[in-house]
């Protein structure tokens, strides 16, 4: 039986198990919208296509499934670009369907024509312009396959209007035909052995784990491995939750995990940066040594032999020289490492490791992550600590970008994978709120909270309408410091306190704004109101904005000044 391209589109989505599409219509995709009702796929109508892309991203990061969005040609397509680039930098599996003008018009500057393939080529893993309806099903099949395998990433599929109107026999291909695409999953056994031998001899090893742990679902293996070889663990921003920050101490209480170092890098924990700088072996897995982590590259981990496991060969020896490169899936590599050490446990490991772990503990004790509490002013860190206390380890936290994001990374104790969704690579303000909506769609019963800044929340605030209209009960904690806090902190420290352009005074009344959208708005202005606002807000069934008027000029510490080594952290206000 012949089907229209638009019908084939939905048949393919069904084959891929897609349950929800985040989208926004326009002329080029109306044929698809016309078919939508006849197919059992949930559509979330957004208010801006950037929101759709971030929602698909949040959905994907929270669930591990491929996120899908659908937009029209021209401006609809260009509006997704930031969302695509965000997903690309953080290896998020996503398929973006864009409408396109009919094939005979392509190249003629037709109404709402844009070369979206050209625009997004550098920020997609791959892309398709489907020129013939016969190619539609294979393109969609390949798109989903590419999005979720290897190093995941966004795939764009451009759909000219005449193609989705044309008819053909529908047959979903069983296999993909991609002779140039063979990601290495199985880590090389010899390399793994070399790495393990290094670790077996190490006196001061550090495990540095990243987003690859979350993507490959390897947190359990990582945790077992770290405990087996008694190596302290630091996780990059995207790796947070990959190793539990707290551990059950047997009395029902959760306490900081003894091997947990916290996040390294520019705003990393003192002990994490010190441990990296004094390590003799760094076992890096699923990370890419971003410059925000390494600080001055020439002095990064000066004493360490570096093992680097990653599924993407281009990540290895890109920023730092690696001694033992291992290309492969993180979980696969860890399974092999576990096997090695289970067969050949390091003798006297606990005594052997004592000096190093004692040293780490001293660093932790000497310079813990702290802030100056206040009875008069709400400290942003306090809000995040309280939120963690109340929302707990099962909540899914998203963030925007700025100081609040760094405080979240520092003060919210992430114990589980996929509980922190944040734009690490691109650092996209406006990511957190739509991402939270996407995550909530994936997990309707979980508590999903966007920790936002007063600046960032305004970048995609229109999606509050999406949340209200679709009964998506996301919570937003706005850390309102009336500044673009991160740039302001840099201006304070490195630009002579010249605060040009970073003051956010004149923002709307977020409580009233929430109410105008049909959501609930709450505000805390004093420290003693924080807990009650949080408890009240989190208990409400629908979407809620909770605004916290915090100390305006609080800074994120430690900070490694730009161009400096990790050991040159500034620990507190000068």
């Amino acid at each position: 039986m012949k089907l229209k391209g638009a019908q084939i589109f939905f048949e393919c989505l069904k084959k891929e198990g897609v349950e929800v599409v985040f989208g926004f219509p326009g002329g080029a995709v109306l044929d698809i919208y016309h078919e939508m009702a006849a197919h059992n796929i949930r559509h979330i109508l957004v208010r801006h296509e950037q929101g759709a892309a971030h929602m698909a991203d949040g959905y994907a990061r929270a669930s591990g499934r491929v996120g899908v969005c659908l937009v029209t040609s021209g401006p609809g397509a260009t509006n997704t670009v930031t969302g695509i680039a965000t997903a690309y930098m953080d290896s998020v599996p996503m398929v973006v369907f864009t409408g396109q003008v009919p094939t005979p018009l392509i190249g003629d500057d037709a109404f709402q024509e844009v070369d979206i393939m050209g625009i997004t080529r550098p920020c997609t893993k791959h892309s398709y312009l489907v020129r013939d309806v016969k190619d539609l099903a294979p393109a969609i099949k390949e798109a989903f396959y590419l999005a979720r395998t290897g190093r995941p990433g966004p795939i764009l599929v451009d759909l000219p209007k005449d193609v989705i109107q044309a008819q053909t026999d529908f047959k979903y291909p069983k296999k993909v035909d991609l002779p140039g695409y063979r990601p290495t999953v199985e880590a090389h056994a010899g390399q793994v052995r070399k790495a393990c031998e290094l670790l077996a001899k190490a006196k001061s090893p550090v495990i540095f784990a990243g987003g690859g742990i979350i993507i490959s679902e390897a947190s359990e293996e990582l945790t077992r491995f770290a405990r087996l070889i008694q190596a302290p663990v630091t996780c990059s921003l995207l790796g947070l939750g990959g190793y539990p920050a707290t551990t059950d101490s047997g009395d029902g209480q959760r306490r900081p995990d003894p091997l947990w170092l916290g996040m390294p890098g520019m705003h990393g924990a003192y002990q994490a940066n010190m441990a990296i700088s004094h390590a003799d072996v760094i076992f890096a897995i699923g990370v890419r040594f971003d410059d925000r982590v390494t600080g001055k590259i020439s002095t990064f981990a000066p004493k360490a032999k570096i093992v680097h496991v990653d599924i993407d060969p281009t990540s290895i020896s890109k920023n730092v020289e690696v001694d033992v490169p291992i290309v492969g899936d993180c979980r696969n590599a860890l399974e092999q490492c576990l096997e090695f050490f289970e067969k050949a446990p390091i003798e006297g490991i606990s005594e052997a490791r004592t000096p190093w772990l004692d040293q780490v503990a001293r660093w932790k004790k000497d310079h813990p992550l702290t802030y100056c509490p206040s009875e008069e002013l709400i400290k942003p860190q306090f809000v995040i600590e309280k939120l963690h206390e109340i929302a707990g380890r099962d909540a899914i936290i998203t963030t925007e970008v700025g100081q609040h994001q760094m405080w979240t990374a520092q003060f919210y104790q992430f114990d589980r994978p996929r509980t922190l969704l944040t734009s690490g690579g691109l650092g996209t303000m406006g990511y957190g709120f739509p991402a939270a909506i996407g995550a909530q769609v994936a997990f309707p019963d979980k508590l999903v909270i966007d920790i936002a800044g007063d600046g960032s929340i305004q970048m995609n605030i229109q999606e509050l309408c999406t949340a209200v209209c679709n009964n998506i009960p996301v919570k937003v904690v706005i850390i309102n410091n009336t500044y673009l806090g991160l740039p302001r902190q840099w201006q304070e420290l490195f630009y002579e306190k010249n605060y040009t352009g970073s003051c956010m005074e004149g923002s709307p009344d977020f409580v009233k704004l929430a109410e105008a959208y049909g959501a609930v708005g709450l505000r805390a202005e004093r420290p003693e109101q924080v807990e009650s606002v949080l408890r009240q807000g989190l208990a409400i069934q629908g979407p809620v904005f909770m605004e916290f008027m915090v100390a305006t000029e609080e800074n994120v510490y430690p900070i490694v000044p730009p161009g400096k080594s990790l050991t040159e952290m500034l620990l507190t206000q000068l």
Binding site: K125, G180, T314, S317
Partner: protein, 165 residues
């Protein structure tokens, strides 16, 4: 500029001949700040496969990134890093050289020495076709330049690994 360890490298790339594949490759070079000195591309004997030869420059780290990044492109079947294998390479040039009464003989002598060919003749110009490696082309260009080159079109290098003995 600071002194670098930049070297020239020749890379072969076998790709699926699908729309946009050249843009992906060239875009990768420009987007990541890699150099392209020459690029050639044409279909192979296998249907749907195109072979490119790119001459680039950079240090070893850059070369290794280029090779890995190229391999990562979905449409790239295979990348040949000729820094690690022996290879043969050739380039063809069409050279329009001034050929007046008094220089014609000299041009023909050069044609002879370099085993070039005259492929077009006009009252004042000869167009020569010459094939060779980089050294040979450089040599003939230098000689002809003294006589007067009006225009030149070079294909850029094509390269293949030497077959194993």
């Amino acid at each position: 500029m600071i002194v670098t360890n930049d070297k020239r490298y020749t890379i072969g790339i076998l790709v699926q001949n699908v729309p946009g594949v050249l843009a992906r490759i060239v875009g990768l070079f420009s987007g990541r700040g890699y150099n392209i000195e020459t690029v050639t591309a044409a279909e192979t004997n296998e249907k749907g496969l195109t072979r490119l030869t790119i001459v680039t420059s950079g240090d070893e780290r850059v070369l290794s990134q280029i090779v890995k990044q190229l391999n990562k492109l979905v449409n790239v079947i295979k990348v040949f890093d000729f820094s690690e294998t022996e290879f043969v390479d050739r380039e063809m040039a069409l050279i329009k050289v001034r050929a007046e009464q008094q220089t014609r003989a000299e041009v023909l002598r050069i044609v002879d020495i370099f085993r070039a060919k005259v492929v077009d003749v006009s009252p004042h110009f000869y167009t020569l076709e010459v094939t060779g490696n980089e050294g040979k082309l450089a040599a003939i260009v230098e000689l002809l330049d003294q006589i007067g080159i009006a225009e030149i079109a070079r294909t850029g290098k094509a390269a293949l690994a030497r077959s194993k003995k």
